[in-house]
Symmetry: C2
């Protein structure tokens, strides 16, 4: 049961799709060829996580539409709620976000707070590294070809990414906490 197994389950938790459509959808996250999707779908059916229905079409080949089962939703929720380590692949994080609808308010807020902790720790480590670079390079560089420059801009990028992620987490939490109506006009995440 690898990332793609949960990936297919995650996408199917949003809507029922054919193997072909599933491939198109999951490509928004990362590239997956159809050769990996069809065998895994068979396994998902085997495991009782999804059901398959043949849909006949006119002008197009028939297709098999897959729908998530209750058992599948339970597994997807387990995967969403399990603790993640720092080395988690980015794609997996995006996929988890795409599944937030499977969580209740308190579960979602808890996960977001957890994520804020992880990003804060990352920033702390990178800030230390930046200070170290500044010190060992004597606070100035002879040229941009100095490898301290590469390290410096790389660390600055990682810090800004984590800071942005924290800001986004807080925005999501604030939406969950504002009890009122859920209106797109009231919720807009200011980009920078």
């Amino acid at each position: 049961m690898n990332t793609l197994y949960y990936g297919l389950l995650a996408v199917l938790s949003n809507q029922s799709l054919s193997g072909y459509d599933l491939m198109l959808r999951i490509n928004a996250f990362w590239h997956v060829p159809h050769s990996r999707i069809y065998p895994l779908l068979a396994k998902l059916v085997d495991d009782g996580m999804v059901t398959c229905t043949l849909v006949e079409q006119k002008g197009k080949p028939d297709k098999k539409v897959y729908s998530i089962t209750d058992k599948g939703v339970i597994l997807a929720r387990e995967w969403l709620l399990k603790d993640v380590d720092e080395t988690e692949k980015r794609e997996e994080l995006l996929l988890r976000i795409y599944c937030t609808h499977l969580l209740d308010k308190y579960e979602a807020i808890k996960i977001m707070n957890n994520r804020i902790q992880i990003y804060s720790e990352k920033i702390r480590k990178r800030e230390l590294r930046v200070e170290e670079i500044k010190k060992v390079s004597g606070f100035s560089l002879n040229s941009f070809n100095d490898h301290y420059f590469s390290s410096y801009i790389l660390n600055k990028k990682l810090i800004s990414e984590s800071a942005m992620a924290i800001k986004w987490c807080r925005w999501v939490i604030s939406m969950y906490e504002s009890e009122g109506s859920i209106n797109f006009l009231d919720m807009d995440f200011p980009v920078i």
Copy 2:
């Protein structure tokens, strides 16, 4: 010649390291076990990209220190300068940044401008998707469990990430363009 092949070359372009130290360094980007590094290092030596020197140590086991060759630098530069597609793995992007010291001012600015184009296009597509979500959901949601909410926050996250990346690219360009002294006090990327 896969990502790790260039990854090892990229790290070695910054400094000579043993297989063990190389593993520790590359783990800053993504997890790589030593079982993958040692065979690849042998291949890099075979291909004439790096040279190997045995360094005896007291109190610690002897180690093999690997250094990049001129041929290795040429290949690393080729890899850096080759066009990248949108589906490029994130790790590879970070690795490329870590190697900027191999590029001259004009090459680096060209790459940054190119990246800005890619991120801009990404934002454009995601903005369209957000507008679509707003429309089909009727500009409001019944609950946070609605999968439009998941899609909405996911797209917002991707947009903010790309926007931050563009800001970072512009910051790097501005540093390359400011001819004066290279002082860490003069260059600070404001996080959000």
